[in-house]
Symmetry: C2
Subunit: 148 residues, 2 copies
DNA sequence: CCATATGGTCAAGCAGCTTGACTATCTCGA
DNA sequence: TCGAGATAGTCAAGCTGCTTGACCATATGG
């Protein structure tokens, strides 16, 4: 495989990723969740199961814990999450989603499903499943990184 | 297809895109091109064929022309591009890559090829071609957007 | 040939991140 | 058990890359 092919694949991947992020964010805003940015969505997915600490979030997002702390302050102020005392560590706080935070997460899922539906119109449902399977196999562990 | 599947696909796509961007940038830096960020790469691909104006770049990157102008100032100062008088419009300037800019672009292609090679180890060459084909069919036109 | 549109830059401001410093609490070995 | 170092979180200041607003030079069209 030539370098130019690798570059074309990379460009397509990054274009699709940018468009996906943009459309999910627009869909979330259109559903009435204001003042929320893509980075918040990545935070929500980490908070979703059982909550997380500020440091957990910082690692997940690949930023300093100060930056994560500011982000938490913002989503708490906007009503998407709340700070609770940590059950086993008095230094830490457990950040958990509020009902509004859960609703916002569901809105993001709906918006994502809409975008994927469009892909399905082009690739077919089998094509989309194949795409998901391939991406799942090459997806890295470690912190989420902005695509630029 | 359920929302959760769409979300899993989206998460995998964004994780792969973020990792790709990160590794290309690291590869470029490792090849000795300092002070260059992912956004510069997107600018280079627009400049590569025959140059472009500041406004062209702004549209391509989805930012204001002031931001594009600052970015051009930066890559000119760092020796990756130069401003030339525009052949048919005395207001405009044609921004073209220098030899160093071309070398940096080739380094980015090499780095991208390395990442794609790893995917090939997992998916096989056919799998990677299929992936590229699928992504190419759903890739949008319009400005490049950051993935968060 | 002048009114308006367009290309580019300067200047100021803002948002989101960083580094540095600090307190409170936990952990663990002497 | 207790004291030294590690860890959780926050406050403060600074930097960077973007924005908006203002401006000049040149192009375009009635």
């Amino acid at each position: 495989m030539h370098n130019s092919e690798a570059m074309a694949l990379s460009a397509a991947l990054l274009a699709v990723a940018g468009e996906l992020t943009h459309r999910i964010n627009e869909g979330v805003l259109a559903r009435g969740f204001e003042g929320v940015r893509p980075a918040h969505g990545f935070a929500f997915t980490r908070l979703a199961p059982d909550g997380a600490t500020v440091t957990d979030l910082a690692v997940h997002l690949g930023v300093t814990k100060q930056a994560a702390s500011q982000l938490v302050e913002e989503i708490v102020r906007k009503g998407y999450a709340e700070r609770r005392p940590h059950p086993v560590d008095a230094r830490a706080k457990l950040i958990v989603l509020t009902e509004r935070g859960w609703a916002c997460t569901r809105a993001a899922e709906e918006a994502a499903a809409e975008v994927v539906q469009r892909w399905s119109d082009v690739l077919g449902e089998g094509g989309v499943r194949a795409l998901g399977g391939q991406l799942g196999r090459i997806a890295p562990y470690g912190p989420i990184r902005p695509a630029w």
